[in-house]
């Protein structure tokens, strides 16, 4: 092999001194190409004696392998340098946000409403909806609130200029959905009715003229006030957490009797009034075509906006209708 040592040294030197791919290819061609010394030597093998030919061929092959290795190694190094130069030129600081891509945000009310719906669906309820503009029948009369009733004043109704005066209104609660459901379905009924409701409350930090409620209605055979208290309890624990307790206090609504307010416990041991509930008044059942001697049940309801305001400690409930993106994107 000694006769080729010089060649090998030269080739290794040429590989080492190649600074880029082009130089390397040219150098490789020079030492390994068709016209290279090595190729010429290989062509000369045929003139050797048969017994010498094998040894000489083997030697040539070893030399070729050595030279190829030199170029391969150099190629790896050069390629690495090429990458490194590219990496260096493409260096970016990724520690900042670029804010070119954003997921949108559901409105807080939708988030709360979905959560509430999911809890009640899990408890065997379906979700009922109805129109926001209603007649006096659905908003009041079917609910056992005749036109003279003092309770009508409590609803601070926004009326609409359709029909006779005070005949058509923006619903002041979602109870009309209960009436519509009962008119169209015989029991058993297990529904919740979420939706927008309206009152003549001037918008301020704690009031909005358009807000959201969710109401529940259960009508079946043998439904008791104990079932009402138990359902409220289950819901409260599912929604607020298992440590939160509920209680009922006597109250009055024309459409339920007995009626109650329901409170939930706060961490400091005090109670917070959440909503109203009670056993559906027999007059309401009869008004909707359901026999109150055969069926009985309960209803409950509360405001979603207030729940949201409480949960997220909003200091001004008007944020919910201003729709400032800086607010919407927080949740």
């Amino acid at each position: 092999m000694s006769q080729y040592q010089k060649l090998v040294d030269e080739a290794q030197g040429a590989a080492e001194s190649s600074q880029n791919t082009e130089d390397l290819v040219a150098a490789r061609n020079k030492f390994l190409g068709k016209k290279s010394q090595l190729s010429e030597a290989k062509k000369g093998l045929g003139q050797l004696q048969k017994n010498e030919r094998a040894a000489a061929g083997k030697e040539l092959n070893e030399v070729r392998v050595l030279i190829e290795e030199a170029f391969e190694q150099r190629e790896i190094v050069i390629q690495e340098e090429v990458w490194n130069r590219q990496f260096e030129s493409e260096r970016l600081d990724l520690t900042e946000q670029f804010e070119n891509l954003r997921r949108g945000h559901l409105h807080l009310i939708t988030q709360a409403r979905d959560h509430l719906e999911d809890v009640f669906v899990g408890m065997g309820f379906t979700v009922a909806e109805g129109p926001e503009v209603e007649t006096a029948w659905y908003n009041f009369e079917a609910l056992n609130i005749p036109d003279w009733h003092p309770a009508r004043g409590n609803f601070d109704t926004i009326f609409v200029n359709l029909g006779d005066p005070e005949e058509v209104m923006l619903r002041s609660h979602t109870s009309p959905v209960q009436v519509r459901t009962m008119e169209n379905h015989q029991p058993p009924i297990f529904i919740v009715a979420p939706g927008r409701t309206f009152r003549t409350d001037n918008a301020d930090a704690t009031h909005l003229p358009a807000f959201n409620q969710i109401e529940g209605l259960v009508i079946d055979k043998g439904i008791t006030m104990g079932d009402l208290a138990g359902t409220i309890d289950s819901f409260v624990q599912a929604f607020f957490g298992s440590e939160v307790k509920s209680r009922l206090r006597p109250s009055y609504f024309p459409f339920t009797e007995p009626s109650a307010e329901f409170d939930i416990s706060r961490p400091d041991g005090s109670w917070l009034e959440l909503g109203g509930c009670g056993m559906v008044h027999p007059n309401v059942l009869a008004n909707c075509g359901i026999d109150p001697e055969e069926w009985q049940g309960f209803a409950f309801g509360f405001g979603i906006d207030r729940l949201v305001a409480m949960r997220f400690e909003l200091d001004d409930i008007r944020e919910l209708v201003v729709n400032d993106a800086r607010f919407l994107r927080q949740f």
């Binding site: 954003r102 409105h107 719906e117 065997g124 609409v160 003229p209 104990g226 079932d227 009985q296 400032d324």
Partner: protein, 789 residues
């Protein structure tokens, strides 16, 4: 309704317990405690001061300097923001170091350079009533009010508990001290009774002085009067004034104060007339004449209608509106000596309608419309007033004069114990139910295990078995009812529409849109500014003009949201909303046509982005045959708008908002918009997602450029290409749009890339050529478009 512990004890002397647990008990009786205050606390250090001098603060217009003598004869300077007092007045002064009932600590302060050595107090600051308007001025004619005397001693204030209770509409009885005491006594298991109001009647006979006649018995169930002579009008005793103040009423004079006192105490509103101004002492009760007028106590002239009730004099003139407000002509005045006292029972619906029509809510009408006591409480109230007047030196004529109309008839109610137990979810025996009802004055007899219940006259709203179930549940205690959960039979679920709507929200949130929820009201002009028709349903009683119309489109509300955000320099605005819109019923129905719409607004983007977004929705929801039809749409850029067709029906519109509309809403940049009738779109049949094999074979692309007149839409061209390409055409993409010098006027070049692919083989060149030819032929045959060479 506010109640004082000391007053409750006059009816139930055995009330005991700490104020917090008594308050809890009231709440559990359905008389929710809204506020509790400890009276007479925090008054140490508050003394009577005599004003020696008043002078302006040299450097502050809204403050004056008051020198008071606090009993030591020296002038103590106080800075005060009220101006209702004069030199010589006696006022309560909180001295340095004292702490007022609301927790305010009084210390020496300097206000604009002037020392203030204490505070002059209003009644509210002392926890005596709600009066914040000015400093409390003590009557000058009582000996006890000398400077330096502690205010509690001067005013005779004893420590007491005041609860402010929320009383529900079905509890007229609890609009009184006595009624609350009855409930509380029952709950505590202690006796309740009315004190005796004994007084001596004078020699005059009432029948000689007064006559009454109920002309309309449907209006008035009972009308009873007494009379007192020799009344001298003046201040009422301090203890009456203190109680009225505590309960939030302002003392006026002895007769008016006694009238109010008895209303609060017994729940029986009453009215006092100057007898001298009632000719022949005759009162009659009738409905008003249409257009009849009266000047009420507040000095207002009122016009009446036939539904209203009036009290008329013998000349037929209305001198009071029944149950609502007295008339000015018979008002008690300084000169009054003889007083006629009326206690009546009025038909609640009648009073309710008048109160509502005249918007005249008063302490009396609140009680009458809920149904006052129509029983012996009427005589009791008359006696109580007579007693208090007599105590003040008046002479009471003997007897009561009254007339009776239609009183509520309350038959004994049959109450089934099983029904009650099944409703409440308890297992009470008839005798338990009886004892609960007995304790609050119901009369109960047990018949064959069920109850026959007589309803007391102070519970006008209580009529039925269900009403009584509530009383039993209330006295049993809601908190003791065992909690169970109803056994539903069907699983709960969202409807398909509700699931799809949630899917829409998820998709939009996924592409970076924030959900908005503006109020659904519009201002007049909002629709016009948005380029929309101005036919909207209006509200009868809007809170403000800016919120007086119901929206017909989500566009104006969303534009306002965009403008708000831009004005606060919030950018990258991408919004969506799902909400109801309203228009007058097309088929003559009473209720409007109400639809649930979806809108999306992308600010500062090319209109093509909203079209892409619509197709994302369309594909995700498998909306059947989603197509756009170019055309002019109100509110949209005339050259960049289209109607959205789903299953061949117009279901919404899409485009770029008309820049003139954006200008009128003060919006910068462009807004891409779509609005869909979501209710209609998601309620119809949606396509089903089904498996389509993904081809493993190579695909072939063909580019075709057509010369297309403006009148032919791109969707038309691509539609025909799809039709001609059939199943082997995997994709058609518009990749270039060009109009300019090389094109004829009114024409543009549209270039499409077609990708052909078979599921089971590699397409041959011949096959692809044939497909290409078919597509060109179809487009050229069906439209005026021509292949560009």
């Amino acid at each position: 309704m506010k109640v004082l512990l000391s007053w409750l004890k006059e009816f139930a002397p055995d009330i005991e317990g700490d104020p917090i647990s008594l308050g809890e008990r009231l709440s559990h009786l359905g008389l929710a405690v809204e506020e509790m205050s400890m009276l007479g606390e925090g008054l140490s250090g508050v003394v009577v001061g005599r004003i020696l001098d008043l002078r302006p603060h040299p450097d502050a217009e809204r403050i004056q300097l008051v020198d008071v003598d606090l009993g030591d004869g020296n002038a103590t300077q106080i800075c005060c923001g009220a101006f209702n007092m004069e030199v010589g007045d006696l006022i309560p002064v909180a001295t340095i170091g004292s702490t007022l009932p609301d927790g305010m600590e009084i210390s020496q302060r300097k206000l604009r350079g002037q020392l203030s050595n204490g505070m002059c107090c209003s009644p509210a600051e002392l926890g005596l009533g709600d009066d914040h308007d000015g400093i409390m001025i003590l009557p000058a004619d009582e000996k006890s009010y000398s400077s330096g005397v502690p205010i509690s001693e001067a005013l005779g204030i004893k420590p007491d508990v005041l609860w402010d209770l929320e009383v529900n509409a079905n509890r007229p009885d609890a609009m009184s001290i006595a009624g609350v005491a009855r409930d509380l006594a029952a709950s505590l298991g202690i006796p309740f009774s009315y004190p005796n109001y004994d007084f001596l009647e004078g020699s005059a006979k009432l029948t000689d002085l007064a006559t009454v006649e109920i002309i309309d018995p449907t209006l008035c169930g009972r009308f009873a009067v007494r009379a007192a002579a020799g009344v001298s009008i003046g201040e009422s005793p301090r203890w009456i004034q203190n109680r009225l103040l505590s309960l939030g009423m302002r003392p006026i004079n002895n007769v008016v104060d006694i009238s109010n006192y008895v209303m609060l105490e017994l729940g029986q509103p009453n009215h006092t007339y100057d007898l001298a101004k009632v000719p022949e002492g005759h009162l009659s009760i009738r409905r008003a004449l249409e257009g009849e007028t009266i000047t009420t106590l507040d000095g207002e002239g009122r016009s009446l209608i036939v539904e209203d009730g009036v009290i008329a004099n013998i000349r037929g003139e209305a001198i009071g509106i029944a149950g609502v407000m007295g008339g000015l002509s018979t008002e008690i005045s300084e000169e009054t000596t003889d007083v006629l006292i009326e206690v009546a029972w009025w038909d609640p619906p009648s009073i309710s309608r008048t109160v509502k029509r005249l918007n005249l809510m008063s302490e009396a009408s609140i009680r009458f419309r809920r149904g006052a006591d129509y029983g012996e409480n009427i005589e009791r109230a008359l006696e109580r007033i007579a007693y208090l007047l007599s105590d003040g030196g008046a002479e009471i004529a003997s007897g009561v004069v009254q007339d009776t109309g239609s009183l509520p008839s309350r038959d004994s109610v049959k109450v089934r114990t099983d029904k009650i137990n099944n409703l409440i979810g308890v297992d009470l025996a008839a005798k338990d139910m009886k004892s609960y009802l007995d304790s609050i004055g119901f009369g109960v007899s047990i018949k064959k295990g069920d109850l026959a219940v007589e309803i007391p006259t102070w519970r006008w709203d209580t009529k039925t078995e269900t009403d009584i179930s509530e009383e039993i549940a209330r006295m049993f205690g809601y908190e003791k009812i065992k909690r169970t959960v109803p056994k539903g039979t069907a699983p709960g679920a969202l409807s398909q529409y509700q699931k799809n709507r949630r899917r829409v929200r998820e998709i939009l949130v996924g592409v970076g849109c924030d959900e908005t929820m503006p109020m659904p009201f519009l201002a007049p002009g909002d629709l016009r500014s948005a380029g929309l028709a101005e036919e909207a349903i209006s509200l009868t009683n809007p809170l403000v003009q800016e919120e007086s119309l119901l929206r017909t489109s989500l566009l104006p509300g969303q534009l306002k949201v965009i403008a708000h955000n831009q004005s606060h320099r919030v950018d990258d605005l991408r919004f969506f909303e799902i909400g109801h819109v309203f228009s007058v019923s097309a088929d003559g129905g009473l209720l409007p046509d109400e639809r649930e719409h979806l809108s999306v607004a992308l600010v500062g983007v090319h209109v093509s982005e909203i079209v892409d977004l619509l197709y994302v929705l369309g594909n995700e929801l498998e909306l059947p045959n989603l197509q756009l039809a170019s055309g002019e749409v109100p509110g949209m850029h005339p050259g960049r708008a289209a109607e959205i067709l789903i299953a061949g029906k117009i279901s919404g519109y899409i485009g770029e908002v008309d820049p003139r509309v954006l200008t009128s809403y003060g919006i910068d940049g462009r807004v891409a918009w779509l609005e869909l009738n979501l209710g209609k779109v998601l309620s119809g049949p949606l396509g089903k997602k089904s498996y389509r094999n993904v081809s493993k074979y190579p695909s072939s692309d063909v580019d075709l450029a057509f010369d297309v007149p403006e009148s032919v839409s791109s969707a038309t061209i691509s539609g025909y290409i799809r039709k001609a390409g059939g199943d082997l055409l995997q994709q058609v993409k518009l990749f270039d749009m060009y109009s300019g010098d090389s094109m004829e006027d009114g024409h543009r070049s549209l270039a499409y890339r077609l990708r052909f692919q078979a599921p089971d083989r590699t397409l041959t060149d011949d096959e692809v050529s044939a497909l290409r030819a078919q597509c060109i032929q179809m487009v050229e045959k069906k439209t005026d478009a021509r292949l560009r060479i």
